[in-house]
Every structure is written in structure tokens, then in C-alpha cells.
Amino acid sequence: MTRISLTVDGAKVSDDVEPRMLLVQYLREKLGKTGTVIGCDTSNCGACTVHLDGTSVKSCNVLAVQADGGEVTTIEGLAQDGKLHAVQEAFRECHGLQCGFCTPGMIMQSVDLLKENPNPTEEEIRLGLEGNLCRCTGYHNIVKAVQYAAGHGADS
């Protein structure tokens, strides 16, 4: 067991974890942050995407011990003071989700994409999200949602 301390969605947490424990397992099993989900076992689907120190990571691809001292934001910490993040709002507005399972990861990746490129073209959006799989939407409305968010101050 290794002691780690980090900040998750603004709260300081500290736990003893097995060295092999993945960040996503830590979030779900130790902290009950079940908004972040697991969709595969090969780092392909991106459903578990969170922000680690301000950058999107697939949390199945990070060991919990690697996040020691870091700051993690999950889908549950994205809305501030009861107000949805512009990207969350855009996904609802544009019907960018159906079953919603890929949505936490998709939203977290979209936030990161817009941070790096506030006015992406459709192609840039499509390339920027290719590490996140969705089986319901055919991506059409996800792309629209990111465009909508870009036009509504998501980068701010």
C-alpha cells in the first residue's frame, strides 16, 4: 500500500492504495466518483477521461499513485456553483448524448480540446475526439455540441 494525497473536484483526499490501482478505480471505488466510468480495458474508449492538472487523461491509463499531489477534475466537478459548464450545456442543447455512458469522457475531452483550440473546425473537432468512442450518436451531434460550446464561451 502506498499513501497518496491529491485534490479531486476541489476536495483534498488521502488514501492508502495498492500500487497497481488505476486512477479510475481509485475515483470509483475509493471516492465513489461513479460519474467517471470504465468502457474498455485497452485504453481505447475514453469513457474514463478526466483532467489531471488541467489536462485530459484517460484515467484507466494512469495509476492512482501517479496522481499523488495532483489535481483531478471529473465530470462531477465540472459544473460550478450549480451552473453547468458551457460544454455540458452544449451537449444537452445539441442532443450530443443518448445513453450517456461515453458522455462524461466525451465532455471532459471536449473541454480540453476547446481549451487548446477555442475555435476548432469540424475536422479539428473530429480528430480531437477520436480517442473517445460513442456507439449511440454517430458523433454528428457531439461535433455540433462542441461547435455550439465554442460559440458560447466554453474556453473562458
Partner: protein, 827 residues
């Protein structure tokens, strides 16, 4: 506290944002795997690595000694209490089906079958210990290739003596619904056009994003199961029927469910195992499969060979169509099983007026993962076959493929039309949908461009693909299901509860898993009862709340479940009328209900329905003999299927030097009847399109020669990404269904059913000039290139999944390098 009379315009037809989304975009979801109960134990499965083998011994001692392991259970150890996994649709009385025990007892029949189960205090400990279970196998020859299996060269289940499960036949001359197809073929052979083709429907994996998960809590009087399922009611029934536990002691809950696409229309070994072990141990248990387990053990879809013979006059008028299918059931006959290809039997004639038709389907057992419903279930296969071969007919006749379709399709003034299968199509307008699609597509301009580029010999050629599809939705009239030997009915149930505060609870037996029922059903009830959209709560997916239902599949929720809802709501109004009359001191005959208000004819007096609900709750002032309740329910059994249709047009750019494909434009004009929520409809169409396109271009479940699924992870099974796909142009024409009150037809499967042949027709169209008349799916660049080189079908393409990590390939799906599974590619 009452609802107002000032409701805005009709809810039906509005692009309401979904009620479901708030929890989904904030991560406040209840996926089954999110549940943690006190003292909960975790299961891990030990699965067979062999496709076919006798289990000679299982040594569990090391696993039992592992930390925090509670139990290790083998098939022998659980044989008496595990129940069986059912087939609900024995398609013929003599269908052969192996017994499907959740845990294999002495023999495994596909790689991935469960042979032992470890129960431990944590999921990680269970999985660690599962590695320690030592299973000895005596490997048996495996029946893998569908065609060889159909010849009984190797037997998948030796005790059955054959792989042939059932032969199901429909012949229009025998059914009295049409002529004799052999006569038509004979005539066409001597004096007409005869087209014979064989098409492959490759094996696909539904690949819902949320893997299957089940939690069973045996604490208390009832046993509660949470499961990531499309069919909680069917699971409950089947658990009771196969375990001897009273149905009233079982509660099944489908909480938030992350997609299904038919893949969660199943009663699964994993559910049965969890149920048995929770009962045995008296503790809550959880099992969540890994993605790799899901790909190998959750049922697959499609997997057919289709032999087709189309007979026509010289002018292209079709005179007969004969279909011979081989359908791979995999290791077991699943819940729908052979019913999947049978559902397609009625759709090969599609939108056309064929005078004669014969369909036969031989279902075949093999030693691969069992197959069952996958989005469209039988209808995509049928649509693919007919829409591909109509293109071939157009080539023979020498006319535009739209022209050959128009020559044969049912004209709009001919509805209702009884088809050669005996189905009555109630409404449709193929001319209108096609005209609109052509306009959106710029059909004539693209044809002109194609001609020019062909003449110039461009390196990249343009292909145009067409699919004028229909489907049968709204599963299903119970008496039809009965006549086809399906084990249950096709009705749906709904109830409407008027709460004291004027709010409304709607309970539906349909069980959504991403479709947006909470929103669309609220819109329907809002209009029907004249209450605010926000005041309606839709409850579903829990057999204790929605005690009666047949769940969600086959584009049935709106067409069947929505009609049940309408009828329940109408009963509320009828119950409220005499109470309104009493409270308003008027005659019941003078009460009019409109926009949520009961008014007295000829006066300005009236009460909102919510006010009446409050008065009924208090029950201080009820008319004599009237029970104090407005709550109502309805069980609706459809009188007919519904028949959505549409015209889809696809433009593909094909690089003739490399075989690389690029979709340039995709247009869909669907007639799905009246639309409740255009936003939700668009989402269903987009997502459906990509699943159908994925069959055409990318996806295939590939087995190696020993029966191992080599496309067994998301590294190897090519789900399309945002970078692989384009944005779509969609629109609708409308001919309302005449068989349900709302005039709806269903849209859940339309995109998937229509798009596959549109894409392949486009690819073939682009390279037909090189002598190519077919390319097997998925149309990988390699296959396309080979087809161009050889003027053939792209070579032997059995088992060649897209090698999507080719060095330097532009089709890379994900970034990290990996080994592509190209076994058998282009052999």
C-alpha cells in the same frame, strides 16, 4: 398547485431537450456497476480458451486459498441450482437446441464460455483468484466455418448429431399470397433476366458502451436484481420459469443502461450465475464484465450467407425472388435465436411488388459465440440483399438504379398494400421520399460529375449508392407472434397516475437505455392530458414499479408502448368526466375536455385536470358510486406492424490505386410517420446510420482457425470514431401510420437498416467499371484494391477484419501501435 390552462402549443413535434440529460451530463448516474451494497461480494468468471472441449478436471484449491476468496464454484457444483438460459422462439417444432447451462458442466462449446466462478470480497481479488483456477480440457474438433458446419463436417454438439438446428420456409405459392417462384425463375432463364448472387453478412458485435453488469441482492423477502439489460420484464419471467423461484419474489431493475442495440436483449449466463450465487451465499453479489469479456461472451449479431435469385422481365419488372439463407446461431440458440433471420423473411421483398417469393433459412450451430438480435435484427440482412441485387438488375437492364426501383415499387396510391409475404403495408410514399432525397443530394449533378470523372479516368472515382428501404416495426401483434411460434406476446402496458398535487406519473413497460422515453413520453402525455411537460414523470425499468411490460427492442417503444400510453391517458379523462360534471354541477353530457380543462359546454365554467386530481385525492365530494381515483392503465396489443421507409443516398470517393475509401456525402430522407420529438429522431437516425455504415466499411468479428475471437478487444474490433465519420443530411417526408393513434412508425433501427447497402452500392458503383460487381463487407481498402485488380469480388475475404493499425495507414483508429488481426485477410 394546479396545472394551468395556459399551456403552450402542442408538445408533440417540439424539439424538447431531454429530461434524461441533466443526470447524464453531470455524472449523477446509476449504472449497475455504480451500485455498492453492504457486504457485497464480487464475481469473476473463469472462461474457456477453447472453442470446443470436454472439461476433464477443475482444480479450485489454489483459488480457494487466495486472499478474501469466499467460494469457487464449478458447473458441477452449481448444476442443480443454476437454471438454464432460454430460447423463447423455437422457429420450428423440430428445432434442435443444446441445453444452455449458465456455467458449462462437462463440455464447453465456444471460447469464452464460463467454466467456473470465483466469489471474493473485491473484484480485484476475485479476478486474481480466477487466474489460479486450474482447468484441464480435452480439446475437441470445433465447427467454425458456417458453410462447413451446415454440411455437418464437424459437429458442434455431438449429442445432437447435427449442426442443423431448424429449417424455416415461407413460400408465397404455398401461403396463397403469391405465385410460384420456380415458375418465374424458369421463365426468366429462357426469356428474361435472371440474377444470382451470394452475399455475406459478416458477424458483428453490438458493442454497447456500458459493458454488462449485474447486482443481485437476496436480502429481505424479495430477491432484487439490477442488470444492464433492455428486458427487465423478460429476465424476471425467465428467472422464475427456470429457477423455480416465484415470480412474485423476484424484482428486476434496469437502472441507467448504457446502450443495448439488441445486445442487451438477452437473458444471460452471467445474470443467472449471479442470481444463483446470491441465493446460495445469502449476500449481495456483483459481476461486471470487462470489455474483452463482453466482446467474446455477450451475443454477437448477423452472420449469414445469402443465396439470392432474382427473376425479371427484360424491361426490369421483377417476377420473383428466391432467398436461401444460412444463419450462424453460434454455440447456442439464444433468446430470439433463429427468430432473427425469420424476422427478415418478410422484408426481402421490401417496397416492391414481387408476384412470387420463396424464403428458406437453415439455422446452424457452430462453436463460436452465440448470436442474436443486433440493431435491425433480420431486417438489415434482408434490406442489404434486396437493395444490392436491385442495383445489379439495373445494370443488367441498363438503367439508373432509381429507375429500376421505381418500376417495381408500390405506388403511393396503392396503399394499403398487401405484399407477397401477406403483410399489409398501411401507408407510405416512396416517390415523395425519393424526390426529396434526390433534391438534397444533388443526385443529377453528382451523376454528371461521376460520368465526367469516369471519362477522364480520374485516379479517385466517385460512386453513388442507393437504398430505398422499408422495415417492419412495432413488434408485434401477439397473434402474429403466436403463429410464428414465439413464446410470448407483443403487447405493451402503461399506466397514468394522477397525483394529489396535479403532477402526473407515467409508468411504461418499455425499458429505455438511451432512447429518451422520459422526454418523448412526457410530450405525448402532456398533449393528451393537457398538463405541463415538466409536471410529468416517466417511470420505467423496474418490475416493481412498472409491473407489467415487454420492454424495448424492435422499434416498439413508441409505436406499441406509446399507444398504450395514449389509451391509459384517455381512460383518465373518461374517469374524470363524471367527477368534473359533479363538481361543476353540470350534466356529464355537457362536459367537454380540451387542453387540460374540463369545461361546461356553452359556459365559461371549467376545471383543470389537476384541480380534479386534487379533489379526487381529498375525495370529500365525489359523485355517488364513483371510485376516488383517476389512475388508469392500458395494455395494448398492436393490430399490425408499422412500416417506416426512406430513401438513402451515399456518395463514396474510391482511390483506385490504393483502395482507400472516403465518404463524401450521405443523405437520408425517412418517412417514419408523425414525429414526436425531431431532436430525438435525428439522434436515432445519425447513430443508426453509423452502425450500418460500420458494417459496410469497418466492423467484423474475426475468429482464427482454432476458434479464438481475434477481434476480442477495442484494439482489434473496429468501432468507428469521430474521425472516421462525417456529418449527415437528414430530412423526413410524412405519411402517418394508420394503425396507431399518434400515426407513428418507429425510428430506432431505420438508419442501420438503410445505410449498409447504400454504402456498399456506392463503393461497387465507383469500381464497377473495372468489372467488379461485389465487394464483401467490411469493404476494407485491401478488399477494394483487390477487387479492382482482379475485376472480382476482392478475393477470398472470409475473416479479414480491417487492419486498422497498418503502418502509415490513414485509417488508424487509435493512436497506440498494436497488432492488427488480419488472419485470413485476402487469402
Amino acid at each position: 398547485m394546479t396545472t394551468t390552462q395556459e399551456r403552450p402549443a402542442a408538445e408533440i413535434g417540439r424539439d424538447r431537450r431531454r429530461k434524461e440529460d441533466q443526470r447524464l451530463i453531470t455524472g449523477r448516474t446509476r449504472w449497475t456497476d455504480n451500485l455498492t451494497l453492504p457486504g457485497m461480494l464480487h464475481l469473476a468468471m473463469v472462461r474457456s480458451p477453447f472453442a470446443h472441449a470436454n472439461i476433464t478436471s477443475i482444480d479450485t484449491s489454489a483459488a480457494e486459498q487466495a486472499p478474501n476468496v469466499v467460494a469457487v464454484v464449478t458447473g458441477q457444483g452449481i448444476a442443480d441450482e443454476q437454471g438454464v438460459v432460454i430460447n423463447a422462439w423455437p422457429i420450428t417444432p423440430d428445432q434442435k437446441a443444446p441445453t444452455h447451462t449458465p456455467v458449462a458442466v462437462d463440455r464447453v462449446s465456444f471460447a469464452g464460455e464460463i467454466v467456473a466462478v470465483v466469489v471474493a470480497r473485491s473484484a480485484a481479488e476475485a479476478r486474481d483468484a480466477a487466474e489460479l483456477v486450474d482447468v484441464e480440457y480435452d480439446e475437441l474438433p470445433a465447427a467454425l466455418d458456417l458453410k462447413e458446419a451446415a454440411e455437418d463436417k464437424v459437429i458442434a454438439h455431438p449429442d445432437l448429431g447435427t449442426n442443423k438446428s431448424a429449417l424455416w420456409v415461407f413460400d408465397s405459392s404455398e401461403a396463397g399470397t403469391g405465385g410460384n417462384v420456380e415458375d418465374a425463375i424458369e421463365k426468366a432463364r429462357s426469356d428474361g433476366i435472371l440474377i444470382e448472387r451470394e452475399y455475406r453478412q459478416q458477424r458483428l458485435i453490438p458493442a454497447f458502451m456500458e459493458t454488462r453488469s449485474v447486482v443481485v441482492d437476496p436480502t429481505g423477502e424479495q430477491i432484487t436484481m439490477w442488470s444492464a439489460t433492455q428486458v427487465p420484464h423478460i429476465v424476471r419471467f425467465a428467472l422464475a420459469a427456470t429457477t423455480g423461484v416465484s415470480e412474485s419474489k423476484i424484482r428486476v431493475i434496469a437502472p441507467d443502461v448504457g446502450g443495448g442495440f439488441g445486445g442487451k436483449l438477452q437473458t444471460t449466463p452471467e445474470e443467472w450465475v449471479a442470481f444463483a450465487l446470491a441465493r446460495r451465499l445469502g449476500k449481495p453479489v456483483k459481476y461486471t464484465e470487462t470489455r474483452s469479456e463482453s466482446l467474446v461472451a455477450a451475443h454477437h449479431g448477423r452472420d449469414q450467407w445469402q443465396k439470392l435469385t432474382l427473376a425479371a422481365e427484360k424491361d426490369g419488372t421483377v417476377t420473383g425472388f428466391k432467398v436461401d439463407l444460412l444463419a450462424d446461431l453460434g454455440s447456442h440458440v439464444a433468446i430470439v435465436g433463429g427468430g432473427v433471420p425469420v424476422l427478415g423473411a418478410f422484408m426481402f421483398n421490401a417496397i416492391y411488388k414481387f408476384p412470387s417469393y420463396r424464403f428458406s433459412c437453415q439455422t446452424v450451430l457452430t462453436n463460436k459465440t452465440w448470436t442474436d438480435a443486433y440493431r435491425g435484427a433480420g431486417r438489415p440482412e434482408a434490406t442489404y440483399a434486396i437493395e444490392r441485387i436491385m442495383d445489379e438488375l439495373a445494370v443488367e437492364v441498363g438503367v439508373d438504379p432509381l429507375e429500376i426501383r421505381e418500376k417495381n415499387w408500390i405506388k403511393h396510391e396503392e396503399f394499403p398494400f398487401t405484399t407477397v409475404c401477406g403483410l399489409e403495408y398501411d401507408s407510405g410514399n416512396y416517390e415523395a421520399a425519393t424526390a426529396r432525397a434526390k433534391e438534397m443530394f444533388g443526385y443529377d449533378e453528382l451523376r454528371a460529375e461521376q460520368k465526367k470523372r469516369r471519362e477522364q479516368g480520374d485516379k479517385v472515382q466517385l460512386g453513388i449508392g442507393i437504398s430505398t428501404f422499408t422495415e417492419m416495426c412495432g413488434l408485434a401483434p401477439s397473434r402474429v407472434l403466436g403463429s410464428l411460434d414465439y413464446g410470448a406476446g407483443g403487447w405493451e402496458h402503461a399506466s397514468v397516475r394522477m397525483l394529489a398535487t396535479g403532477k402526473v406519473e407515467v409508468v411504461t413497460g418499455a425499458s429505455a437505455h438511451g432512447q429518451g422515453h422520459e422526454t418523448a413520453f412526457s410530450q405525448i402525455v402532456a398533449d393528451r392530458l393537457g398538463v405541463a411537460f415538466e409536471d410529468i414523470e416517466v417511470l420505467h425499468g423496474d418490475t416493481q414499479i412498472a409491473h407489467k411490460g415487454l420492454d424495448t427492442y424492435g422499434s416498439r417503444s413508441l409505436v406499441v408502448g406509446g399507444e398504450a400510453l395514449v389509451r391509459a391517458a384517455d381512460k383518465v379523462v373518461e374517469k374524470a368526466k363524471p367527477i368534473a360534471a359533479h363538481l361543476l354541477e353540470a350534466s356529464a353530457d355537457d362536459i367537454e375536455f380540451s387542453h387540460g380543462r374540463f369545461g361546461v359546454r356553452g359556459t365559461d365554467q371549467g376545471m383543470a385536470i389537476g384541480e380534479i386530481a386534487t379533489a379526487v385525492f381529498a375525495a370529500h365530494n365525489m359523485p355517488d358510486g364513483v371510485e376516488p381515483s383517476l389512475d388508469s392503465e392500458a395494455t395494448y396489443d398492436p393490430v399490425n406492424f408499422s412500416f417506416p421507409h426512406g430513401t438513402h443516398l451515399c456518395a463514396m470517393e474510391v482511390d483506385t490505386e490504393t483502395g482507400a475509401l472516403k465518404m463524401r456525402k450521405y443523405v437520408a430522407c425517412d418517412d417514419i410517420g408523425n414525429i414526436i420529438n425531431p431532436l430525438i429522431v435525428a439522434g436515432q437516425v445519425h447513430g443508426g446510420l453509423v452502425q450500418g455504415i460500420a458494417q459496410a466499411l469497418w466492423e467484423e468479428a474475426v475468429y482464427d482457425e482454432s476458434g479464438t475471437l481475434v477481434s476480442g478487444s477495442f484494439v482489434d474490433y473496429l468501432l468507428p470514431t469521430s474521425a472516421d465519420t462525417i456529418s449527415f443530411d437528414i430530412d423526413h417526408t410524412t405519411s402517418a401510420s394508420t394503425t396507431n393513434t399518434l400515426g407513428t412508425k418507429g425510428v430506432g433501427e431505420a438508419g442501420t437498416i438503410a445505410s449498409t447497402p447504400a454504402v456498399v452500392n456506392a463503393v461497387v458503383d465507383a469500381v464497377r467499371q473495372f468489372g467488379v460487381n461485389d465487394i464483401q463487407m467490411p469493404c476494407t481498402p485491401e478488399r477494394v484494391w483487390k477487387a479492382i485488380q482482379t475485376g472480382g469480388k476482392g478475393g477470398g475475404t472470409e475473416g479479414a477484419a480491417m487492419p486498422h493499425f497498418e503502418a502509415g495507414g490513414e485509417a488508424g483508429n487509435q493512436e497506440q501501435p498494436g497488432t492488427a488481426s488480419t488472419e485470413g485477410a485476402g487469402a
